[in-house]
């Protein structure tokens, strides 16, 4: 068996080398983090996903950044002044702000970066987040030159941003990756390849060390970061972990310190057996069924939509079907947004029996019942989880005389069908980009285009949001948004099912991870005990 022997030798050598390296090198603090999927790009102006954002938050720092618990705190800007009309923001930058190659980071860098983000040539998905800035929308649309953008360097340490209107949540937008600075000379020199190891110059707590697509991204501590003295980790390795079962095994075998997620079918087991390491916390997202208001009969009969929503038992959904600790949803905007009073569907406090009785009554009034069932079709993208929920919904609606036909389509086909409004009810989900209700509510403005899947149009709703947009006083603004959501919920354009939670396995050796609804966790706050 020569095959076996030639096999064992490199194996033994490899193991020996591994052991040697583990003992010889002085203890380096390395964090191994499961990160879901392979990043599509690490260019902060082009990326769109959660996995990219997790890495970029360690590589870059915007004017504003996140504290360990997810609040907005000064980043490159140490402070800022807001003009009385709320339209002009003056940022005072750190005099010691540096790029990882030693160059000084100045207000000009931000001017370049914001212009690049809105430049049509950059083709950024998330550029519209910057829409509150003067001329941003026109620049994205190619109608104005990016140099006309309302961002100006007063001097190297002072940046002035002018907005179209007072935007109370503007500071929150600046911690988004679309507002991160990029190094002009590097971008211009390397083009699309500027994010590669060896090329990338960044300004965050860590710098790019290695990127093997589909294997790992390694970042190392940046000694030039302004708070480097308090950064404990020497290195973070991000792994794409598409198979959640295997990710959990890797965690249990000690290969990962943090998992991206956990397999939902294991949640019960984890709660019973690894409770201290399993963490399940609220997330800024809602899973819902959207109703196409442009199609009869659901579109023109609000009472039918209400009946569907009444008869959907959200508690059974989360406790018996999804079983991963989700929160039953009676709202569109998820809970825990600072300053926002959560709004609920008015039947939240009704008992199950009362809800079913009302639903049956509404259906009967419209001429439907077990003898003459209402036929509706539900569209969802092919997935076991969505199917389970859809089957449960069909079973809940059936006794009332609602015949639900299930249609599943592959992801991109489903998106296409949804965009073309070729559905009656469709499964959908929304995870907030920033912690403000507007990020949920503005989807249903009558002019929101494809994002408004329901085809919802209510002048009063539009008016409330318009008013909120020009209301600078935070509490008054929130009141207007609350009113808008209340109105929206009453129209039953969608059926909220549950609010997401995030689930991670966290090593007992990990410190510095704090929970927040945005689920952002910067490496600069974390450490690993040996």
């Amino acid at each position: 068996m020569t095959v076996g022997r030639t096999w064992l030798r490199p194996l033994a050598l490899g193991l020996a080398a591994l052991l040697l390296s583990a003992t010889a090198v002085p203890a380096e603090m390395v964090l191994h983090r499961g990160n879901g999927t392979e990043p599509e790009t690490l260019d902060p102006h082009k990326s769109t996903g959660v996995t990219e954002n997790a890495i970029e938050n360690d590589l870059f720092e915007g004017l504003v950044t996140f504290s360990a618990d997810g609040r907005n705190i000064p980043g490159v800007a140490t402070s800022w002044d807001i003009s009385d009309d709320g339209k002009v923001y003056t940022f005072h930058l750190r005099p010691d702000a540096k790029w990882s190659n030693g160059d000084a980071l100045t207000a000009e860098d931000f001017v370049y970066s914001f212009r690049r983000a809105v430049d049509p040539k950059t083709a950024s998905d998330y550029a519209p987040i910057l829409a509150p800035i003067v001329n941003a929308e026109a620049a994205i649309g190619g109608e104005a030159d990016p140099t006309t953008l309302g961002v100006k360097a007063v001097d190297p340490e002072t940046l002035e941003i002018t907005l179209n209107a007072s935007t109370p949540y503007f500071i929150g937008l600046l911690s988004h990756n679309i507002a991160f600075p990029v190094h002009k000379a590097t971008v211009e020199k390397f083009g699309d390849q500027w994010t590669r190891p060896g090329n990338m110059v960044s300004n965050g707590a860590f710098t790019m060390a290695d990127w093997v697509p589909q294997s790992q991204v390694t970042v190392v501590k940046n000694p030039l970061f302004h708070d480097a003295a308090n950064v404990k980790l020497d290195k973070i390795v991000f792994y794409p972990t598409e198979d959640l079962q295997e990710e959990l095994k890797r965690y249990r075998a000690g290969e990962l310190d943090i998992t991206y997620d956990v397999p939902s079918e294991q949640v019960k087991w984890l709660e019973e057996n690894m409770a201290s390491e399993f963490h399940n916390t609220p997330y800024l997202g809602t899973y819902y069924y959207v109703i196409n208001l442009t199609k009869a009969p659901l579109g023109d009969q609000a009472s039918l939509r209400r009946a569907l929503s009444l008869a959907l038992d959200r508690e059974i959904m989360t406790e018996k079907i999804t079983q991963a600790g989700e929160i039953p949803a009676y709202s569109w905007v998820p809970p825990n947004i600072e300053g926002y009073q959560q709004q609920f569907l008015d039947f939240k406090e009704m008992s199950k029996e009362e809800r079913l009785a009302e639903a049956a009554k509404l259906l009967a009034e419209a001429g439907y019942g077990p003898q003459n069932p209402l036929k509706v079709e539900l569209l969802y993208n092919t997935s076991e989880n969505h199917k389970k929920i859809a089957v449960a919904a069909a079973a809940m609606w059936k006794p009332l005389g609602i015949d639900l036909a299930l249609t599943n389509q592959e992801w991109k086909v489903y998106l296409d069908t949804r965009d073309n409004k070729n559905f009656q009810i469709a499964r959908a989900a929304w995870i907030g980009d920033f912690a403000d209700p507007i990020n949920f509510l503005d989807m249903f403005l009558s002019n929101a285009g494809e994002r408004n899947d329901a085809g919802y149009s209510n002048p009063k709703y539009d008016e409330l949001l318009k008013q909120a947009a020009v209301t600078a006083e935070p509490a008054a603004r929130m009141t207007l948004l609350e009113e808008a959501e209340k109105l929206f919920l009453a129209d039953n354009a969608l059926i909220p099912i549950y609010h997401y939670t995030t689930q991670h396995m966290l090593s007992p050796k990990l410190a510095g991870w704090e929970f927040n609804i945005l689920d952002v966790h910067l490496g600069r706050y974390m450490s690993i005990a040996s």
Binding site: L11, G14, T41, L42, I140, G142, T195, E246, R250, E450
Partner: protein
């Protein structure tokens, strides 16, 4: 033989062109596009994206642009992995897939042929039944069952080997053992069954009977006459099978976290990453053509009846 090989390679060019044309049209006929996401982009952004990737041009112009790029060896940028070109993704992942796939195939070949012959020689004995039972299992139990089982037993329970990963990009044999096993098992089983069937047929043939009747020692009969005749059916199986195994497997790669190219075949299509779909299809097509040619040439070596003209 050289003229034959050259002729075959030249003949491959129209074949590849047809593959390119059909794939190009088919992937674009699929509903949805590369930039459709849960968060719908605004019409302006969509226009910007389409312009940046030349998707706003007429289809024929896009096809011409693509072919022009191909002639210069440029497979275009990936729509999904925006920081890399398709060439980089394929060339970056292929060595990994080639290495574990190649080793798996070599192991499957040696053990599979050995097991198949053993079973053929001891036909209808306990050894035969055990070997065929084992290979039946190897074929019937899919990768997505075997691989998690391997990680559970050797990675998590026994802790002999890492559960997944690729060892910091460096050469790490420990990370290769389980994926190679998972890849080799079904191939080993298929090869063993093919070998057994072919060998039984050969052992019953007239010339083997003649050799035995002439009193040739069994060892010589087998090594000099039987084995060589057993191989041809195997060789025709090995062409496409090798192309398949060295271009990776999405299941094995995702489960073990291996940076190969197998995942791109599936993901690129699901993501409507047009250029990556084209890239891996052309790559795989070319590889199949090449390996089938090698198999046909090997045929000539093994079977004197085959002539190339």
């Amino acid at each position: 033989m050289l003229t034959y090989a050259l002729k075959r390679l030249l003949g491959a060019i129209p074949t590849l062109f047809v593959i390119i044309a059909i794939t190009f049209v088919m992937i674009r006929m699929a509903p949805g596009g590369p930039f459709d996401k849960e968060r719908r982009v605004s019409p302006q952004v969509e226009a910007n994206l389409n312009a940046a990737y030349h998707l706003d041009e007429p289809l024929l112009a896009q096809f011409g642009r693509y072919l022009g790029g191909l002639l210069r060896g440029d497979f275009g940028p990936s729509f999904q992995y925006k920081d890399f070109t398709v060439t980089e993704l394929i060339l970056g992942g292929f060595p990994t897939s080639l290495m574990i796939g190649g080793i798996a195939m070599a192991i499957a070949l040696v053990l599979g042929i050995g097991l198949g012959m053993l079973a053929a020689l001891r036909q209808n004995s306990a050894v035969d039944y055990a070997a065929m039972g084992f290979t039946m299992l190897g074929i019937a139990v899919p990768n997505f069952v075997v691989a998690p089982l391997l990680t559970l037993v050797f990675g998590l329970t026994l802790r002999w080997l890492p559960v997944g990963g690729w060892g910091a990009g460096a050469f790490s044999p420990a990370h290769m053992v389980l994926p190679i096993l998972a890849l080799a098992l079904p191939q080993l089983a298929a090869i063993a069954r093919l070998t057994r069937g072919s060998m039984i047929e050969v052992l019953g043939s007239n010339y083997v009977r003649t050799a035995r009747a002439k009193g040739l020692p069994e060892r010589i009969t087998l090594t000099r006459h039987a084995i060589k005749a057993t191989l041809p059916p195997l060789v025709s199986y090995l062409g496409p099978a090798t192309a398949g195994i060295i271009t990776g497997s999405i299941i094995v790669e995702q489960i073990f976290g291996i940076p190969g190219i197998g995942r791109y075949f599936v993901q690129a299509a699901l993501n409507r990453d047009y250029t990556l779909v084209m890239g891996v299809t052309i790559f795989y097509g070319a590889l199949i053509i090449l390996l089938n040619l090698v198999a046909d040439l090997l045929y000539g070596v093994l079977d004197p009846k085959v002539r190339y003209d």
